[in-house]
Symmetry: C2
Subunit: 677 residues, 2 copies
């Protein structure tokens, strides 16, 4: 359907409300999975809300899986070296502190980096356009006016139970108001997201039809419409938690300063004037987060009158904090002030038909640089589940895992941000007898303790139909109430997890380097886990040269290939790897085995158009150019016997077992996918 | 000027004839240096000649310097593992031979790779468009009809001594003829270079004006118009050398075969049926070079009647060579047959006003995968020289180094191709008493011996005004006759070269990893040698913590900064680093020094718009994430005393000396650049 030619009444599989990073992530999944989706935003192309810039390693892994991390890498500024904390000496004068690594080496292929949110959105927009073959483009200047769910239809997979009425806005309506002559009041600003000709044309055509209404019947709706979410409000859900925090200013400037840590991620706590964070960015810009201790808060509401805050007043505060160092600037790219509390949504969905994601269900300060990451990762969790249910591949019951999995992440985020904000906004301790002061070391400690979370690598989803863990293993779980398909007990689970100690079930698949059996090229295994909606069976085939082990591999392949078993029953007449792809990693020497001779056909499926599946079999051997990945050791897998690992479409480890545990492997897939008779 | 709105008479600084890889490389330089240039091609967008696909490490380094190697990396197929040579056993049956690394590790950051020429051209077109701000776009369907040089004006830098008459073709004229019902006869084929909307529109507008003529007055012309170069013919120059070779077929197919080395670069010599080369490519394609021993050659001309060659006959030959292995295919992307000799142009230029590059001055077989590389690298050598002369930065006399430097490379290419072709086309030796047979090991030996050339890393330019070497050091020289500015004798040169043994003068600047002093990010130093037309002074500052050494650095900086010296005299009122950029690498511990405190301002120049030049000072220290580059050791530079290295805009090491050799450093630049009074 022409995205421009909607009738006054139409239907769609997924309607995404809000085209920030969360909404675009959802749209990316739909594009990569070939699902009919629309994405609307009430604002026009040139303005958006907020300006996040910190991208954690996990987000970059996700960009890689969609195919655009190369663009990110080229433009981003990498915070790959140090955290510098500076605090007053005995005379109350700022001294530059010790420098330590920002991210512990070895956790991810990627490192913390900063890049303007507008560029991230640009990468998504181009990627969505390419993979949807131009069928999904953001419709800007379009606003939802009402939303209704027909509850009698929510269990009918052929129905479109959500009705949303949309209205096309004119240019004035879709351009956010600028408060107080400046942008900061609600964080809106002129972005450097530049429009493409076709996007501008689409918007113009929409303006021409301003005032027109459209009734959209949707199977599913995702509300990614920010902290003041219209979708959340219309569902009657709330954010809960503390509502206010200290007030901070933010400026993106090209600074002239003699403070030596200006190109490092730094935190400076002054004795009397508050704290300041330094986040270096692309193009010699530096973002300063500046505590505004002189701004008076209303005694009743605890809120500041932000209309009195100017760039000059923010920068004056920065100068005081930094003394005796000097700082000036000519170029300011953007500035704002914020006062945000830590709050989490009461519900993340209604009837598993309307979902909320991103700021619509969690608000917090930007200090840990997590906002854009957690919001995008919400939809990275949700998108493939919706796509597979809509395509009739997965059972609708998997949708309940979204709230279960992501609400815990939001709660953890809020707890960490709360702790950090209090530490950063406090005054530094004067001496050991000062009970109210904050020890700068505590801040550093919090940062180090929280580092796995900050990388986006602490996620550990609990048991469900998608995660084969015993319900006892609930310390990282979802709070129960989620159906489990494999009735695994703790003892069996422990035995199985011991087969791949480096791949904890519930966490993201860690990446090691392996060699392509057919040509010897070295790859990060994670590069082979593309976000195309497919599950993967990672077969650690062990020592394929050992006859007994080879027989185990062949036996498993016979079971996988049997028409009566799950793999053929989920794919039907489609190609054998269309829903679950098998990736093999063996531990023999690469030159001692041959792909076609030593591996059953199902491990490298054949097609007359593309030939053999050369690039599905890998080995854990020394490369000519980049050393030894030592994958079996890193993954804690036995080099002789190997094991089998199931990876979800979002790169989360879902199941671990022996090559001989085929029945349980089958029940995993029976529990989440739809099998033909 | 609107590239679409040329009058019937116009002028331009550089007119490039031919938009293959060589012509596009020249245009890229003009775009990056801001020179007014035009590039024409008589063919329309959808067809071009030849289909090279091998890209050597040096070409990839150059792509990196222009900013598009990321696109290449994403799409290319890396031949990074093995050379497999297979030959008959005692029964005459093909046996797969031993596998060895293709490229010795450590020579370059990049490895041999294959990618369709059409994609390379696409990357160039997009890059040229971006950097020229849309002012340089290939004008297709435009053909030169006459060329005249006004010899009286060739020494006048304000003059436009070359007059070229152009004619716009119609669609039929600009579409190459397809011979014999197939494409192979002259290597023309429908390419998968897809047009962009604006490029198609430009071509359509040109068609509408078909038949119109235009007289262009150019300062310089570059003929990159292929083996049958119109430019070369109109200048009356010739190619010299052998004119014919054995006849080979080429096919790009998706093969079904049990030959195990099909995803590795392989060479197979059969006992009776000739030889076959396997070059794996992107998208599971494989290129086969197939010797056609059954095709009869005309006894007089030595030429084959190519009209009788079909894909079927070529593939039959391949099947015979490969037996007992089987091979079939459904998908053939492209095929051709060729019979090419090794020939070199007599002249590469006329009056240093009209230049020839690429196939216009060297033809050879595609077996070593060098064609596209050497052609592009011709213009990589030429482009910046022209740009700097046109911009009034460099002396016109530097232009004579183009022929001197590149003709030797062409000769070396031809010699290697000649040897390889004879070895590959010969029959394998039967036993030690077989005098005419070719030992398969000889082929492998030739490949290994030639490897530096194949990587594009053996280039060693001789003494000239751009290369400060003694004329005695002419074993890799240009054959003399080139002016030298620094009258360096062999003894002094040896002493200076000993200051940086890993950076031989005349060769490309090898890359080591270093840390950014300001933020600790690790970089390959070569990433900092962008192709923007600037020379670089790489200052190995040594141990900056040693007071005596610091004084040497400061003294050098004072000299560099003096208004009466070359650096200020070449830049005039422009910024100090607009023509020569200084990059500093010190050897002290990163945390023990501070950028602003320990390094003179000239090493990190200040601007109010962009702040301090944070990213011009590096250190040779251990990184947090990627180990230790150990640059001083790799470059053979003393960690205490350091040295100074001049790098040309094309990344060639031009001069090496002590920090105290300022006078000679100055005479280097006086010898090639134009200094104000």
């Amino acid at each position: 359907m022409d995205i421009d030619g909607h009738d006054s009444e139409s239907s769609v599989d997924v309607l995404i409300i809000g085209a920030g990073p969360a909404g675009l992530m959802a749209a990316a999944w739909m594009a990569h999975c070939g699902v009919h989706a629309r994405i609307i935003d009430k604002r026009n192309a040139k303005v958006f809300c907020g300006q996040a810039d910190g991208l954690n390693p996990r987000s970059q892994e996700i960009f890689e899986s969609f195919g655009f991390v190369d663009r990110f890498r080229k433009e981003a500024y990498y915070l790959n070296e140090v955290w510098a904390t500076s605090s007053p000496d005995e005379n109350g004068v700022i001294r530059r502190g010790e420098r330590t690594p920002d991210t512990p080496p070895g956790l991810s292929r990627f490192m913390h980096a900063t890049l303007h949110q507008g560029r991230i959105e640009r990468f998504f927009l181009d990627n969505i356009k390419k993979y949807s073959k131009d069928t999904i483009q953001v419709e800007r200047g379009v606003m939802p006016e009402s939303l209704a769910i027909e509850e009698t239809k929510v269990h009918d997979q052929t129905a479109y139970p959500v009705t949303v009425k949309l209205r096309r806005l004119n240019e004035e309506e879709s351009t956010p108001k600028q408060h107080g002559g400046a942008q900061f009041a609600d964080g809106l600003f002129r972005s450097n997201l530049f429009g493409e000709a076709d996007e501008d044309a689409l918007l113009q055509r929409s303006y021409e039809r301003a005032g027109e209404s459209e009734t959209v019947h949707a199977k599913y709706v995702i509300g990614c419409d920010g902290a003041r979410s219209w979708t959340r409000n219309v569902l009657g859900f709330e954010l809960q938690g503390e509502s206010i925090d200290a007030i901070w200013g933010v400026m993106d400037i090209v600074p002239f300063t003699d403070f030596p840590g200006i190109r490092e991620r730094s935190m400076i706590q002054s004795a009397e004037y508050g704290s300041l964070m330094v986040i270096p960015r692309e193009n010699n810009l530096v973002r300063l987060y500046i505590q505004l201790i002189e701004v008076k808060l209303d005694a009743t509401t605890g809120r500041a009158d932000k209309s009195k805050i100017t760039p000059e007043s923010i920068f004056d505060a920065a100068k005081k904090i930094l003394q005796p160092y000097k700082i000036e600037y000519d170029v300011c790219d953007w500035w704002t002030a914020y006062q945000i509390g830590q709050r989490v949504g009461t519900h993340f969905q209604a009837h598993d038909r309307v979902f909320l994601a991103g700021d619509a269900v969690h608000t917090h300060s930007p200090k840990a640089g997590q906002g854009m990451n957690v919001s995008m990762q919400d939809c990275y969790n949700l998108g493939w589940k919706l796509a597979l249910v809509i395509k009739g591949i997965a059972q609708p019951s998997i949708l309940s895992t979204y709230e279960a999995e992501r609400r815990r992440v939001a709660q953890e985020l809020i707890a960490i941000d709360h702790r950090l904000s209090r530490q950063i906004s406090g005054k530094p301790v004067k001496d050991s007898a000062d009970p109210t002061g904050i020890n700068p070391d505590d801040f550093k400690k919090s940062m180090i303790e929280g580092h796995l979370f900050f990388q986006g690598l602490s996620i550990n989803y609990g048991p469900s139909s998608l995660i084969a863990k015993p319900s006892e293993a609930d310390e990282h779980g979802n709070g129960g109430g989620i159906a489990q398909s494999t009735k695994i007990n703790a003892e069996t689970f422990a035995k199985r997890q011991a087969l791949a100690t480096g791949l904890p079930v519930g966490m993201r698949f860690n990446s090691c380097k392996v060699l392509d059996q057919s040509d010897g090229r070295i790859w990060h295994l994670q590069e082979k886990l593309k976000s195309d909606g497919r599950f993967r069976i990672v077969l650690f085939a062990g020592n394929i040269l050992d006859p007994a082990q080879k027989q185990r591999v062949e036996h498993l392949c016979t079971q996988l290939d049997a028409p009566s078993n799950f793999l053929r029953r989920i794919t039907g007449t489609g190609s054998i790897d269309s829903i679950v792809e098998i990736l093999t990693i063996h531990s023999a020497k690469r030159h001692s085995v041959e792909l076609l001779r030593d591996f059953p056909d199902i491990l490298h499926p054949f097609s007359r158009q593309t030939g053999w599946g050369y690039h599905q079999v890998y080995c854990d051997d020394v490369s000519v150019y980049e050393g030894f990945g030592d994958a079996y050791v890193s993954y804690g897998v036995d080099k002789d016997r190997g094991c089998v690992v199931v990876v979800r479409p979002d790169q989360i480890v879902a199941w671990v077992g022996e090559l001989d545990d085929f029945d349980d492997l089958q029940s995993y897939f029976q529990g989440c996918l739809l099998l033909s008779d």
